[in-house]
């Protein structure tokens, strides 16, 4: 039972992470390699609010969401003026900056040793469920919140504008709207929803180390987006299912520890390679050609 709850929580977290990344990568057509960094900033903010300021979980979560949106805007400041490869490089740089900060600001983040003893939110008295059961319920609620928010956003004028921007950037400018502003908003929203997952991750693991938020994490999330699909939220669910359940499946097959985990990497590497070269690139290219 504990195992099922564990998988449920991790799955929920990755559903939020992949859906947030899908907004940037799929809807705004900006390949971001900084999603893992946003995941990290959210988690550290939650943990620090709870440990240093003694706040309870939900105010800490809200702070993480707001601060992540601000950090998103800060990244957007230089990044949104760039396109294509240059944007990717900027987010990559952002990823490295955040990683180095978490490693080197050891007074604040505990450095490479990490940050431990993050308290778990206390289960309300009236709920007859275990600690992790409660966290699972919290995760579920946050998944629903994140997906509803993203769904409504895509159906709104914001979503229509985003579609129009990817369709024809020059025409979008001619209509009197600023592409830079819209892209910045997309990055901020994506960072904010990512923070929902980060907060749960921090209290669920009760220990944070920089290694969990490095480039590998960003690429892992990117793989989830590419695997599921670029346009619909339910595709983000599929992507999250595959990237969470496949490693579990490999473990269940009982491969020896010497090459079991590396098989995952081989699998995901191959998948990413095939997807990028045969399907995704075409969509990105057709867009660029039209925009010229």
């Amino acid at each position: 039972m504990e195992y099922v709850i564990h998988i449920g929580i991790v799955l929920g977290l990755y559903m939020i992470l992949v859906a947030s990344a899908q907004l940037v990568i799929g809807h705004a057509r900006l390949i971001s390699l900084g999603q893992g960094a946003f995941f990290g900033t959210g988690a550290y903010v939650t943990a620090l609010c709870m440990l240093n300021l003694g706040w309870s979980f939900f105010p800490a979560l809200l702070t993480a969401v707001v601060l992540n949106a601000v950090i998103g805007l800060l990244l957007a400041l230089p990044a949104v003026r760039l396109k294509g490869d240059y944007f990717v490089l900027t987010t990559l740089g952002f990823q490295f900056i955040i990683f180095q900060l978490t490693v080197n600001l050891d007074r604040l983040t505990g450095g490479p040793a990490g940050l431990g003893g993050i308290p778990s939110p206390s289960t309300p008295q009236f709920l007859p469920i275990s600690q992790s059961g409660y966290l699972f319920v919290v995760t579920l609620i946050l998944v629903i919140i994140a997906f509803t928010a993203l769904f409504l956003l895509q159906k709104s004028r914001f979503g229509r504008n985003l579609k129009a921007l990817c369709d024809h950037e020059l025409l979008y400018e001619i209509s009197g709207r600023s592409p830079i502003k819209l892209r910045a908003q997309v990055i901020a929203v994506s960072a904010a929803t990512t923070a929902l997952a980060s907060a749960v991750y921090a209290v669920y693991m009760s220990y944070l180390a920089p290694g969990a938020f490095n480039l590998d994490q960003s690429i892992f999330i990117l793989t989830g987006v590419m695997l599921g699909g670029l346009s619909r939220l339910r595709q983000a669910v599929v992507g999250a299912l595959v990237i969470v359940l496949f490693p579990e499946l490999m473990r269940a097959m009982g491969l020896p520890a010497t090459y079991g985990p590396s098989m995952n990497q081989v699998f995901f590497g191959l998948v990413l390679l095939v997807l990028v070269s045969f399907t995704v690139v075409k969509r990105f290219q057709s867009n660029e050609r039209r925009n010229q």
Partner: protein
């Protein structure tokens, strides 16, 4: 004498050539160009390929920056704005819309969404007290959408296209002529007072040109001023109020449509 909408003085633009093998050099695309457009008139720019027609449009709506000169635009309230140095979205919000060469619609959006994109963010004239009322924005949004629909429907009716039946069609699936009409309709519903049309007839059958001419009349009826680039001389003669012949980056000849087209024909030897 009609009031002036656009007043261009001494405009120049140079592109530096840095292509391999070509060595270093500069191409003077627009040189000391003077041009003015009157309100509710069709003003055509004629010229061969490379004369600088599209570059002129790019300079007006801010895709490229001018080296020197001034572009003054007078909005529907008669207020003057200097356009050089402004960004494209800013210029668009002042009231200049443009139809790009080729496809000028959002291919993945429905017809009605395209039309809504042509309208900028609601500029409300209500006080903040009125805005605080619950449902204010929803009501205003609905009103704006209804007004837009009626306006667009009237336009499409003239070309016997039923907007109500087609409004959810994706623009990319429409025929070239229909797409062209859709972009012209976007011009009708947009609040812009100056329209830059870059070859609205390209890729159309000669039978369909009458349709575009009719649409231009409709735009004029809505008090919109039009700056037009067009190669089809019969079309230019039929529609233009004034015409300018652009060569080597500046205006060689100005006059009525007929005069300039006649001169252009003798020049080109046809």
């Amino acid at each position: 004498m009609k009031p002036i909408v656009l007043d261009i003085k001494g405009l120049s633009k140079q592109f530096s050539l840095s292509a391999k093998g070509a060595g270093k050099g500069h191409a003077q695309v627009i040189s000391d160009l003077n041009l003015s457009v009157n309100e509710a008139e069709v003003c055509t720019i004629l010229g061969s390929n490379g004369a600088g027609k599209t570059t002129l449009f790019n300079l007006i709506n801010g895709f490229t920056r001018a080296d020197s000169g001034s572009i003054r635009f007078f909005d529907s309230a008669g207020e003057g704005h200097e356009l050089t140095g402004l960004s494209t979205p800013h210029i668009a919000r002042l009231g200049i819309n443009r139809m790009l060469q080729g496809i000028s619609v959002f291919g993945h959006l429905s017809m009605i969404d395209n039309l809504q994109m042509a309208r900028p963010v609601l500029a409300s004239r209500h006080s903040w007290l009125e805005r605080m009322k619950p449902g204010f924005y929803r009501a205003e949004k609905r009103q704006a959408a209804e007004k837009l629909f009626v306006q667009a429907e009237q336009f499409f009716d003239q070309f016997s296209i039923c907007l109500a039946a087609n409004q959810h069609k994706i623009a990319g699936t429409l025929s070239t002529a229909e797409q062209r009409l859709l972009s012209l309709c976007m011009m009708v519903v947009s609040p812009a007072s100056l329209l830059l049309l870059d070859e609205p007839c390209s890729g159309l059958h000669t039978d369909q040109l009458g349709m575009i001419a009719k649409a231009l009349e409709e735009l004029k009826r809505h008090q919109k001023s039009i700056l037009l680039i067009e190669h089809n001389l019969a079309f230019v003669e039929a529609t233009s109020d004034t015409c300018h012949y652009l060569e080597g980056g500046h205006i060689r000849l100005s006059g009525s449509g007929n005069e300039v087209v006649r001169h252009y024909k003798t020049e080109q030897g046809c």
